[in-house]
Each structure stands twice: as C-alpha cells, then as structure tokens.
Symmetry: C2
Subunit: 150 residues, 2 copies
C-alpha cells in the first residue's frame, strides 16, 4: 500500500504493469448470463451451433477484468481511478477459456481541468495481452485526478 | 423473437429503445467487489469517508447493464451483437442506488468490410439515461454484421 499520488506526481510516459488473471469457461458464462447472454458468450444456442471450443468472453467482461487488474496495481497509489470516459476501445482478439491476461499502462498526457480548479485529466493508454502476447484489449482512459496544490 | 437481420436490412437513422433496469446498492457493491473494488463503488473505506449516500456504480457496471439492455432489445433481431470496438464512451453522470436506466440506439453509418467479404461494420450510437432523463452513459459501438448477400 502506497499513499495517494496527485496530478503533480505523475509524468507523461510513465508506465505500469499489472498482475495477471486467468479466465475460466465458468467465469465467462457467469458474467455473460448476467450482462451479455449471447450464444458465443454463454456457450449455448441450438441454432447458433456454438460449442465450448468457440466460447469467447464478452468484451465487457474483458473490460471489467482489466479494470480489476488496474485497481489492484494502483498506478496512482491510493488515489482512486475515476474515469470520465474512454476513447479508442478495441478488442482485436477474443478472450477464450483458459486465457491469462495482463495489462500495461502508459500516461499519454496530463492537464489541469479548465472547469474545476484543483483537478486534472490524465489520459492513460491501457493495453491487455493474453499468454501468447496477443493484444486482446486496448483503450485510452480519461481519468479525473486531484492536484496536490490546487 | 424475430429472425436474423442482415446488413442490407439495416438503415442509417434507424432508432431503437430498450427496456429499463433498476440498480440496487447491493447490485452496485456486488459488481464492484469483483471488478472495481474502490471505496466509491463498494461503499467502504475508512480513510475515504465514503458513505452509502455517495455510493456510485462502477462505470463498467453501467456499461455491462446497458449491454444487457441492448441484447434483450434485439435491434438486429436474432443476429448477434459482436462489437469490434467502442469510440467516445462517456459517463457524464454517475449511476446511484435506486436509479432506473434505459438506453436508445441510433445507427450512424453502415459499410461493407474491406477485408472480409460477406460482412459489414455498423456504427451505432448508444445513449443511456436515468429516471430523470439525465444521460449517464453514451458510446459509439462498431458492430460486425453479416450480409444477406455476400
């Protein structure tokens, strides 16, 4: 546990690597039953001809798993990761049962908020890869970060 | 249940409205414990001073809930909603316990794939509002849709 990091403590180009998480077929199906119950994600569908070999994680499951990796890796120390929005989110390859994914982050830009004194916006690129090094997910997150000296 | 809709069946400007979903504090905390365990989402944190009044849903929870609304509303009939990526995702207001959210979709553009014959890419704007009509979530989804006539 490290302390809070503020806007002034962050640097453009700063990188961070998360731990990894393995995804089981049961995990994929459980998430999908709640949030994305399509045959390719829940592994059933009489007409779709989907079998367990073709089961893939919902893209939103991948996004949620990567968020957990980011929270646990604390790139901003104990400062919360509060996203205003996301740009350029892509899922170039699906996540399949048994895959292990890990993410890396890089700070692209840092600026003070024009509308609210004491805060800034950090643009951070997030890239997640599977155990073969293939990119399964990428996005640019716009994060709201408090300043040490408003 | 309606049949599959293909690329040729879709029109730019076409709109669709989903059903709605209510979000409880328990729902918010359960999702966050798994995927985004930060004080503002799990309602605890000795140093953060977060109480139940300030509990807000993880943005990824909102995204997942809206995906469920989209899947259930079947804007493309029984054709699966397979996203290649997302642009311009924003969370302008937080989702709070007791909120009810619903989404509307609008097709922005339709084009044939240059790389894979028989498929096309549909850009669809998704906007979700709470019970007060405030936008809590917006994004543009790039969806992979099969053609009827490859």
């Amino acid at each position: 546990m490290i302390g809070a990091r503020f806007l002034e403590d962050l640097s453009v180009g700063e990188k961070n690597i998360t731990s990894s998480v393995s995804v089981s077929a049961a995990d994929i199906v459980e998430f999908a039953k709640n949030y994305d119950p399509q045959p390719m994600h829940v592994g059933q569908g009489v007409n779709a001809g989907v079998d367990s070999d073709s089961l893939i994680a919902s893209g939103w499951h991948t996004a949620a798993l990567v968020m957990r990796l980011l929270v646990d890796s604390q790139p901003f120390g104990s400062t919360q990761l509060l996203g205003l929005g996301i740009d350029d989110l892509r899922w170039p390859k699906p996540v399949r049962p048994g895959d292990t994914i890990a993410a890396e982050t890089e700070i692209l830009s840092i600026r003070r908020s024009r509308s609210q004194q004491g805060y800034g916006i950090v643009r951070m690129r997030v890239t997640a890869r599977n155990q073969q090094g293939e990119i399964v997910y990428g996005m640019t997150s716009n994060l709201w970060v408090p300043c040490r000296n408003p």
